[in-house]
Subunit: 175 residues, 2 copies
Amino acid sequence: MEEEALEYARRAHGDQQRKYTKEAYIEHPKRVAEIVRTVPHSSEMICAAYLHDVVEDTPVSIQDIQRKFGRKIAGLVEELTDVFTKEKYPHLNRKKRKQREVERQAKISVEAKTIKLADVIDNTHDILENDPGFARRYVPEMIALTEALQGGNFQLLMRACYEVECARKVLQQKR
Amino acid sequence: MEEEALEYARRAHGDQQRKYTKEAYIEHPKRVAEIVRTVPHSSEMICAAYLHDVVEDTPVSIQDIQRKFGRKIAGLVEELTDVFTKEKYPHLNRKKRKQREVERQAKISVEAKTIKLADVIDNTHDILENDPGFARRYVPEMIALTEALQGGNFQLLMRACYEVECARKVLQQKR
């Protein structure tokens, strides 16, 4: 099942690339799944980690995921898919959209929070290494998001705090 | 009031020294109070930060603090004073005592948790700089404690996670 989820995500993301590194997009969900594997997890969580950006960034729908992988995994992917997107809420600015998103994420399941923490760890590391300019906008958003993800696995919360705090320190030094 | 609490703590700690740096003990509560000042706080929290080790490490009692500084500050200092000490619980080993202490600290007030997080930040930084050997025992205890302190100020939780994660990384590299 995990192999299938990885291959499904690989095909769905196709030739999409990561913004900064230009590596194949699938490398990011692969790293997120590997981070989730370092703490107590279920096979469904690993599948959802592979699939976590598929609905947000490709034409695949939650219904497609449910038909292929069942309700549990589709439920996790749905929790991990942004609701307050620019497309659906064009009247809200980025700040407002991120705020609503954080309020939503504070209420997702412990499993989904744990996967989202792994996502924060990988994304923050990536942005700090590759786009410190964006960090100015990104760091306050990540602080708010990480605060909302309390209740997820504590070891990953700690690692997420470490990455975000590293990014915050770099910003501070620049001033 | 804050100046009085600082002077009271300075006199109570007398010529006690910090374990590693051999600086005057009062420098530690002073740093803890300064960390608390970086986030939303009350004057009582600053006084309790100055006084947080007085009952644990000197002959001063909670009643002494209450007579001099009132119930609010005495209450915070009491929450910040270890209950499961070697002296009072000689039949429990260090691991058991720390476990009980963590269970207790998970239930203290948000204000006390915030001060305790500042204490974790300063102590962890200190031990990492000065006694990496002790870190092997200390780091797992600090992970458990920081987990229990969720609910305290999130910015300080984040900084505590950063310090503990730094210490954990140093340990890992040594293996």
